[in-house]
């Protein structure tokens, strides 16, 4: 069947690129290593800490996201769209900036400690395990909320209408409509966030209060630059892959396929929400709390930096232009990858499908440092690495954003095929026509979200570029880091606001584009 071959070929090509990025780079590092040793007790301590904090962070983020996403899904109020965009901001912030914002609120010298001080109470003490989890929830609650919100909005509005007509109670609605959706969405969201927290390192170190908070990624860093022990770096990266593979197997094993059947793509109007003022209050409180938790630190960053944006030196503005170009390239790549892989997963079925889905997540498990080093080893004999700095940044960020893009579009893709596929088959729609008429219109919203995410993530990325030492010019996050390194904390604060603003703008533009015809 030709209808199956093209999606599979495209998906396999993308899968190959992803495998080269993660395992190829790891292999290159291992190949350059001399002699092999084992892991010491300190490395295993790092593994234990990494697992624990990632698990707690993921569970908390997703658990807290459920009431917030539900509240956002069933409430309509002015500024809701803007709020949803803003709530996404922490996820796309560079860690360096986000940590400063968090500390401005929760730190010893932060807002909350100041308020406690008025009542003669000691300042807040967040450094340690609590701090790490707090920061990870701050970063990932927005992502979890968005992923679950996609799930809620993907329940056809006819179902809610039918539920209302049948006089379903809230518990019935939950049991028949919401619980199956959560069962489908939550494992994926948990997995994505678990993996994100697994490879985190600067956040864990700064807020973890010291070497107790050593993650596997930091151990890799140590092996690479402190000991120049490439074999150990590769071994640790392999351990990281192992943990991720295990988590992926668990999460995908419990996820349910979607079963909502057909709808007419009407915007969701909730007929079951009219007569419950207590519920409205509860939803309001949930939204308010989430907004305060996520927006206060951002507000502190903006408050400090906004007046300084206008005075930023020219190199910062040039870097901003460069970063936008990288982000746009990254968006194109990421959307292409996600569509190719998504169609292949949807078409292949069975083991191949599961396999491709895991490959789509694999870049999350990769250590940015190992990817960077491996690509460096692979490309150095062929071409001056400095010339590759910006293209590599775009490619790696597209791969890093792909798991989110995939998570966002897969449910919608499956549902489009499940609900409209049979009709399309009858009409003999295949290939591009089928994609254009049947699939893409139903993917607008998740595609827009994915594009926004890819763009914003690559705006803020600093990870891979460092080894490649680009010569032609720095990106905005690198300039921000350089400003801080040159004592210029005022300019750095201004650059942080510029970065935040541009990331949000890119995210908003794509996300908005994807929602243009929806009533939400």
């Amino acid at each position: 069947m030709t209808g199956r071959i093209w999606p599979l070929a495209g998906g396999s090509a993308v899968a190959l690129i992803l495998l080269i990025l993660s395992f190829g780079s790891l292999g290159a590092v291992a190949w350059r290593a001399e002699g092999w040793g084992g892991l010491g007790p300190a490395d295993w301590a790092a593994v234990r800490f990494t697992l624990t904090q990632a698990m707690v962070s993921a569970v908390l983020s997703v658990a807290l996201a459920v009431p917030v996403a539900r509240a956002l899904a069933r409430r309509c109020f002015p500024g809701r769209g803007l709020l949803i965009t803003l709530l996404g901001a922490p996820f796309i912030l560079p860690t360096l900036v986000a940590v400063m914002g968090l500390l401005a609120v929760f730190g010893r010298n932060g807002v909350i400690s100041a308020i406690l001080g008025w009542f003669g109470l000691p300042p807040l003490q967040i450094y340690g395990f609590v701090g790490v989890v707090l920061a990870h929830v701050f970063f990932n609650l927005p992502l979890a909320t968005r992923l679950l919100l996609q799930g809620w909005l993907a329940i056809p509005s006819e179902h809610f209408r039918l539920a209302a007509a049948l006089g379903f109670s809230r518990r019935d609605v939950f049991r028949h409509l919401e619980a199956p959706m959560l069962r489908e969405m939550m494992p994926g969201a948990l997995l994505v966030i678990f993996l994100l927290c697994l490879t985190s390192f600067a956040v864990a170190l700064t807020l973890g209060g010291g070497p107790r908070a050593t993650t596997v990624e930091l151990a890799i860093y140590q092996a690479f630059r402190f000991d120049f022990d490439l074999s150990k770096a590769a071994l640790l990266a392999l351990v990281q892959f192992g943990l991720c593979a295990l988590a992926a197997a668990l999460a995908l094993g419990v996820a349910l396929p979607p079963g909502f059947g057909a709808g007419l793509d009407r915007p969701v109007i909730r007929h079951d929400m009219g007569r419950a003022p207590g519920l409205a209050l509860w939803d309001g409180v949930m939204i308010g709390l989430a907004a305060a938790f996520l927006l206060l630190p951002l507000g502190m960053i903006v408050l400090r930096g906004l007046p300084l944006v206008a005075g930023l030196p020219a190199p910062v503005w040039m870097a901003a232009g460069r970063s936008v170009a990288v982000a746009l390239a990254s968006v194109l790549l990421c959307i292409g990858f996600a569509l190719a892989l998504g169609l292949a997963i949807e078409r292949a079925g069975g083991v191949v499908s599961r396999g491709l889905e895991v490959v789509g997540m694999v870049s999350l498990a990769a250590s940015p440092l190992v990817i960077g080093t491996g690509l460096f080893i692979l490309t150095f004999p062929l071409v001056d690495p400095a010339r590759l700095a910006l293209p590599v940044t775009a490619l790696v960020n597209a791969a890093m954003a792909l798991p989110f893009a995939l998570r966002a579009i897969l449910p919608a893709l499956r549902q489009a095929e499940a609900s409209q596929g049979r009709l399309a088959d009858h009409l003999g729609l295949t290939g591009w026509t089928r994609l254009r008429l049947v699939i893409l219109p139903r993917l607008r919203r998740p595609l827009g979200f994915a594009a926004g995410l890819a763009g914003a993530l690559s705006m803020g990325d600093l990870g891979v570029i460092v080894l490649f030492a680009e010569r032609e010019g720095a990106t905005l996050p690198l300039q921000l880091y350089r400003l801080m390194g040159a004592y210029r904390s005022d300019d750095a604060a201004g650059a942080a606001v510029l970065l935040l603003g541009l990331s949000l703008l890119i995210f908003w533009a794509f996300d908005r584009g994807g929602r243009a015809h929806a009533a939400t």
């Binding site: 209060g209 010291g210 070497p211 630059r225 120049f228 001056d384 004592y487």
Partner: protein, 328 residues
């Protein structure tokens, strides 16, 4: 598409310049080449006298720089490496990648300098920096810091050169008592960051009372911001030094030009740039001396520095002690 344009521009630029002028490639750490570091002025000054192109490539910090060189090995396009410190030079020498510089020079360093492979270009003392208004009477030793109720931010020695410097400082000052010092310090350490920038950010935002930095840090605030409130606390056991060095790669096909660059590096034209861009002391004092404001800085009575071999020998044990004390 912007990429093809960017890439072809990058490919063309060197081709035009290398028509007849040679290019000297210098690897250094990232903050050296930044728009706010010494890089731009150094390039201009050297290109004015060398009849060549100076290309500076910045990579992470000193340790990342050495790791990159080790990855590239003898095929490295670099002619000169600038920005290693004495904690890295033993490993760098062992790599066999460096050639003797053959330059005799007098240095203005608190310690004698003798090294066939590496020449210093600047130096500084590690110190804990504080705000005079918030902390009028800083501790005068590690013991006093331990007995205080102050909070400090330090850097992780596994990911930061100043972080490793503190390890060496305590080892050099307290020898076998270093583990006890670290155990005492542990409650004072509010947090450990990946790099210097994060720690210093915590300090300027008032999150910690003191931060591990350099005695020259207050000069930035005084000279660039007109803010005299920052100061470095003098510790009675002495202060460990960071000496930053440069060397010529054996694989370079520009040995003469590389040597010319190192000689330029020790001349006034280069050394004058250092104090107010890298915020360190110049290795050879320029004729006009130090810029105004540097005279206000605290100068330690005792300078501490391990030789490159001692530092390499102490490193692993010192890290283990640090991990043991702070992991509790």
């Amino acid at each position: 598409m912007r990429y093809p344009v960017l890439i072809s521009a990058a490919l063309l630029a060197p081709a035009m310049a290398t028509a007849d002028t040679p290019t000297l490639t210098v690897y250094t750490y990232d903050s050296f080449v930044s728009d706010w570091g010494p890089g731009p002025a150094v390039r201009e000054a050297f290109e004015a006298i060398c009849d060549c192109r100076l290309e500076m490539v910045g990579t992470g910090d000193g340790a990342a720089l050495l790791a990159r060189l080790q990855l590239e090995g003898a095929r490295s396009p670099a002619d000169v490496v600038l920005g290693l410190d004495t904690n890295l030079t033993a490993r760098a020498a062992e790599s066999g990648l460096f050639a003797p510089h053959g330059i005799a020079a007098e240095f203005d360093l608190p310690v004698a300098w003798e090294d066939d492979l590496f020449l210093p270009f600047d130096w500084g003392y590690f110190a804990f920096v504080h705000d005079r208004e918030r902390l009028p009477e800083p501790p005068g030793s590690f013991a006093e810091l331990i007995d205080s109720d102050l909070s400090i931010a330090i850097q992780d020695p596994r990911s930061s050169t100043p972080g490793l410097g503190l390890l060496m400082w305590i080892k050099a000052a307290h020898g076998d008592d270093a583990p006890a010092i670290w155990e005492g310090l542990a409650p004072r350490v509010l947090t450990v960051t990946r790099g210097w920038s994060e720690s210093y950010g915590l300090f300027t935002s008032g999150e910690v009372d003191m931060v591990l930095s350099y005695t020259t840090s207050p000069a930035y605030h005084l000279i660039a911001e007109g803010d005299a409130s920052k100061a470095a606390a003098e510790f009675s056991e002495g202060h460990y030094m960071q000496v930053e060095v440069a060397g010529i790669l054996e694989s370079s096909d520009q040995q003469d030009l590389a040597r010319e660059f190192l000689e330029f590096m020790l001349s006034d034209a280069f050394q004058e740039i250092i104090p107010t861009t890298n915020w360190m002391y110049p290795a050879v004092l320029p004729e006009d001396g130090l810029p105004d404001g540097f005279d206000t800085l605290m100068v330690p009575e005792r300078a501490l520095l391990f030789s490159a071999d001692e530092a390499a020998a102490q490193r692993d044990a010192a890290l283990a002690e640090w991990l043991a004390a702070l992991s509790r």
